[in-house]
């Protein structure tokens, strides 16, 4: 999902003893609007897969999800793109409910650990 934020480039000047400058780029506000970005299904090693019965549910309440290397596209403005990290906070819950039996796989660990990306597969 691609979202739109305004970023500002800030310069802080210090004068002790001489002038020095510190530059920062920070998000200012969410501008609204989202766009779905298509992505290929990632590879998931078989040892990171667990099987679930029909009518079973798995919930995750924490762990980091994935870091996007070019999460904030600012190269044309400041010369580099910024990374962004998505994750689950302890006050959020992600769930998968299986209406028929299936397999849940992580790209970097089992679903119960720190899988980063979760992929739902058929039995």
């Amino acid at each position: 999902m691609r979202t739109h934020y305004s970023y500002g480039k800030y310069c802080t000047t210090y004068r002790s003893p001489g002038p020095s400058f510190k530059w920062q780029v920070k998000a200012i506000r969410f501008e609204g609007g989202t766009r779905t970005i298509l992505s290929s299904v990632p590879l998931t090693p078989i040892q990171y897969c667990t099987d679930y019965e029909a009518d079973s549910t798995v919930y995750k309440l924490d762990s980091n999800a994935v870091q996007w290397v070019r999460g904030a596209s600012l190269e044309s403005v400041i010369g580099i793109d910024l990374s962004s990290r998505t994750g689950f906070r302890t006050d959020a819950k992600q769930g998968v409910h299986y209406y028929s039996a299936g397999t849940l796989c992580g790209t970097h660990d089992t679903p119960g650990g720190s899988p980063r990306r979760l992929v739902v597969r058929g039995p």
Partner: protein, 181 residues
Amino acid sequence: MKRIGALFFTTVLATTGCSSEGDAFRLNVSEGADCGPAPVAGASILTFGAVGRSEASEDIRVTGVALADADGAELVGAAVWAGDHRTPGVVTGWPPVLDGKPYPGWEATQEPGDAVVAPGERLTVSFGVRRTGESYGVVRALRITYEVGGRTAQQEARYQWFLAPTSCLDLEPFQFVDKDD
């Protein structure tokens, strides 16, 4: 096209918990829950699992698996996988059955007492649980007893494994709040 039949959803919930710590191995269970259907009290059995990796410099011998914190559920059996395997998350029966057949690779499991995990090897504890009460059965912690380097130690893996009398979709969020809160 075959329907996978899964629903992703995200909600907001306040809860706490803790993951296991151990000097010989760490079961990699983060905060969360698995829930499976167990419609018949006293008869319905589900197999769950917890995965980790040995951090010991010598072999670990898993000598016992027990439910450390559970309500309305009793342990039927336990087994240890050493190495990389696809493993049961929530699967019917003990030993687990998948598509009417024994779970793939089950013959590679070891019984507690004889289960040896080499240094650096992946470790999965699968355990079968029977729902015993009228409502949900829940296991909040699994206790693993093991021997390493001539000493005996224990570790608790805290997670939430539910056995649902009807559908897991009926599970209310408040049931995820740790009872120690």
